[in-house]
Subunit: 300 residues, 5 copies
């Protein structure tokens, strides 16, 4: 997640230099073609090209809307995971009877929940790190490793422990139901995250929009060449910059769980839950929050 | 579901060649009509045609928005079915007492749930395959075949087994309620899928928009013919391409359960649930995930 | 609900002939006024008229969006009624004890639910048919007839029977709660349907938009008359056609429970529920599904 | 709530005459300024003004969207209150034991619920009428009068009575929970209504949009004066009419609980609930529904 | 929250003078550059610039939509907190048995809830005030101070007290569940508020839009200079005013919990809850509502 409201010229350049070069090249070629081959033949009417620009601006707006919705939905899902994690830890630690065995199971479930979160994050980010194993007992680890879906396997273990908690009388059936509902919510949060990660935004939308923009940039440069000559390269680039950068901004948050500057800051969120839960467990050596990178530019 | 962010020229051509030919034909006819019959009489003002283009771009945007919403809602429904399936299996296997009869019923219910999913998928895709029968006992199959709605008949069986589970004391009433809620959710997911499949997007919207686009393509070509002659065929095609392809992209995801490249990948989703549930049942011979087709272009 | 994706010319004409004639008349009058009275005096600038067209296209888009949302919300509400009806029947028939009295009450409640659905449909469609009375016992009928709101009176009876079911011990309190929740959901579905039926879309929006379109059609024809003479009648009609038909498409689904081709197919939906429920009751003489009308053009 | 789909000229005039006069005045002044002071100096380019009109049409559309959402949300909230009121009365009267004391409390709660609705309506409409006191017993009235928030004080009394109902054994704990959930829903409906009433739509949006429209009306008139002279007053008014009236339509439903023709018809809705509930109580002298005003133009 | 529908010229000036000056400067520079360096070389075509203006108006509209959604979601969250606070106090005070110890705990929980609200508000507004400590007992305060997240620590205490209430028999398990659900809702409201506060709106959207507007203002002035000379500075400013002010209006409500005139009036909302809850506790010395500032211009 980017943290600064303003970007320096260096950062703008860093985010856009590739497309800048491509647009400049494209406009230059269009200028030369118009000047040496087409000028004497045809004169593209500017008004009509304008309609194309307006239409494409709509389609870009449509893509950006959906991209933002995916990004914001992803953020809401993980916001819900934060809330449910706190409620899960609170319920387990407050509503379980105080005998030793019950407290052991409850604490084990809170720790295993951290393993669930880190395993889920590792899958969503496709980093394959194994930070999560530190929060799993050896026999748990043996049971979940090799599963088709590790976080789901961890949730299955939670249910078994919850069943045990109730069978040894550490919680009554009402608390059993309340905690089970929280486990179901985590299962839902996991599935929703996987849905966003696994569903490709229809490429027919984003890809064709990209083609249409190139198409517009060329036509626009051709039109301007007739009135302002080589200046059309500069102006053509400027128009292309507005359209392409806006389109790319949409694409950059389309997959909010990717390991990118623009994505959801899963590292920071999971760490915050970790601190909350370890505090609730009164654990020693609680790690500090994730720090922003590159002088406050972004946080992962 | 298409999997690639970029399409090759061959694929673009494959998705659009039909409409490309129609537009070219239409523009050519418009060019000849204008050149030989109308030119001397009237000159359509370009600015006014532009308004039409802008208005139609709105209407296309409106259709595409609704199409995307249908597609995304369909995906959310099946994402919910994934989550609820996992929770159902987890609850049945973890919360049922360990005696043999209870476990038998629980395992039967998990398998019957797979039958429910495959029967639902077969109906939504209109493929009429009978893959689902492998997960039904013979007497169950006899009871559901010939029903007006097979998946609904399967759900009815689930409720009867759940009632039995509680009556033999394998689950208490809280777990009964929790599992019943999951069955209700599956009934809702089934009904929501059927709603999207069964509700035709108002053809007055999509069909008239299509007519308006043809209308615009013709007027646009007529206007351009007056200034750029036969080039208007090329440019007219280009404009028509932008409008028609965008409109068609919307239509292509309007019915997300259809057996098409752009639809929801029901095969992959149901298979993933199948793997999850068979793993939970510790079944032998678990099938592998569905593979992408045509060199990673799409997955069904 | 219209069922076909494409309409024949005859159907287009049938849906639009009235507005077509009015637009033609309007454009002709505008043409003559411009030609004989205004031409020598003023020349309306086309670019400025274009802004008006763009603005009106927005406002039409706004109305259509809201109209579609009402239509789709209505469909979702009745989709929910389908799901809840199935769940209600399933719960009543599976979760009630097998003694004769209990089964009698449960079956009576399922049948009475069909009466509820048909009474609700009759009110929403304003048809005042009394198909629903076939599913009511004589004393029930006496109690609900003459009520201010018949379906609500039927729901009240359901609650009384549910109370009885629990008092005779046919269901326990958990099942009581689960079935009561389904009754509450049906009460909500009824109220939501009534809300959509009873709330007039702000006429200040739809009516003024209609005025603005006429206004634009006139100005547009005036502008074109100056350059293309009598052709402006044809082109003026074409523009008016695009704007008026799009606006009318919105209006046609604004009241989705009306007895119209474009509305929600309540007949088909209630019949499907009827079939599902009668099958669950193993009733004889189950009626067949509603058939499409006019060669598959629409279903009511 | 306006009830008619069409407005007569008299009604249009009645709703818009003020802004009509202001626009006419503004255009006339602009015409004279342009004619006598500016004409010889500058010529404002029409195309550029067009962009302004398009941009402002967007911003109007944005405001109207939010206004409609507030209005529709308000309607949904009161639709929910209708449903929950019916469910509350049904539950109280059907699920309470038949001994005299229990029935007395249940009937008292239903009547007090009517007091809650009328007190809430009076606050939302800022009418300060005391119709609600007829449904309150003397001691209840003494306890709620003078509270910071009367409807909230009434809800608190409902909870106390519900507690009593359960303590005397008239309902079991399941019914207690179900009815408590309905009371919580009414508390939510009250709070949501207060939120919409109490939250001023950001004036920076609506007010600046209004300024921008005046600005556009002036520039537009200036531009047209150069080509069509004094006719620019008529055409300038016409453009101003379209933009201002659309903007005002949005503002008119922005505060849906106001005592206005365009607002939510709270009188009719509360009266309908009153009839439903009094019927359920088999009360004598049930009042009739609220009637439409001014020959069916609107209902309050 | 701004309270007035109209702003005086002084207030407009106060909100916009900075950007006004920057636009004037920018237009003046553009005018001189065009007049002395570029005029003889190139003539930027107005129609093409218009497309840019239209496209940017879309992108501004997109940002404003998201900003409004954040603002309104924030308001809905705090509206929910109002409702849940009332329900929590009502449940604790009505549903707890009347013995002294139970009433003590219930009253302590209501007061501690006020501490939760004020601690949450202080964090969201980043004011770090400690008004909340007045509602915490000394030992509670010792336990929450120094926590990573104070309001979360307070909620943990609420759960412990709720557990105690049930263990001493002051509430049964149904009421335990109902109150626990309200605590979970408050945990959710807290997390949702933190999400909105902690998630930076993608700066790539808002920042680039701002750049594009400057870009448009310059091009627009250049274009107008060619036809209207120095007047282009005035008109250029006017266009820039419309675009920049609309964009800034969006930004001003993007972070609705900030300590600004445009944000959510958290002071007033928490105070209203405080009054409601202290009244319910029949506490002495209830503070008055928050007053509007600067002659009714805004409330914090």
């Amino acid at each position: 997640m980017l943290l600064r409201n303003k970007l320096s010229f260096r950062e703008i350049f860093r985010f856009t230099w590739k497309v800048d070069l491509w647009i400049l090249l494209c406009c230059t070629v269009a200028y030369y073609i118009d000047t040496y081959y087409m000028k004497s033949h045809i004169s593209v009417p500017g008004g009509i090209i304008g309609v194309l620009g307006t239409a494409i601006a709509f389609f870009i707006g449509f893509n950006n809307n959906q991209a933002y919705d995916r990004w914001w939905e992803a953020r809401i899902i993980w916001g819900g995971i934060v809330n449910d994690s706190r409620s899960l830890a609170r319920s387990l630690l407050s509503y379980t009877s105080h005998d030793f065995e019950a407290q052991q199971i409850a604490r084990r479930m809170v720790q295993r929940h951290l393993a669930f979160l880190y395993a889920l994050k590792s899958g969503l980010r496709s980093t394959n790190d194994d930070y999560y194993i530190r929060y799993l007992a050896a026999d748990d680890l043996a049971r979940v490793q090799g599963s088709f879906n590790v976080p789901n396997a961890i949730i299955n273990l939670q249910s078994k422990d919850l069943q045990m908690l109730q069978q040894i009388g550490a919680i009554d059936e009402f608390r059993f139901k309340a905690i089970d509902e929280l486990i179901v919510k985590h299962c839902d949060g996991m599935g929703k995250s996987e849905r966003i990660k696994g569903t490709v935004f229809p490429p027919s939308y984003s890809f064709f929009t990209s083609i249409f923009i190139w198409f517009y940039v060329i036509l626009n440069t051709l039109t301007m060449t007739e009135t302002i000559g080589a200046w059309s390269i500069i102006f053509g680039w400027a128009f292309g910059f507005v359209f392409h950068v806006t389109h790319k901004n949409g694409l950059s948050i389309m997959n909010p769980f990717e390991d990118s500057h623009m994505g959801i800051s899963l590292d920071a969120i999971t760490r915050n839950i970790e601190i909350n839960l370890l505090e609730a467990l009164q654990a020693p050596n609680i790690p500090g929050p994730i720090k922003a990178q590159e002088d406050g530019l972004y946080i992962m």
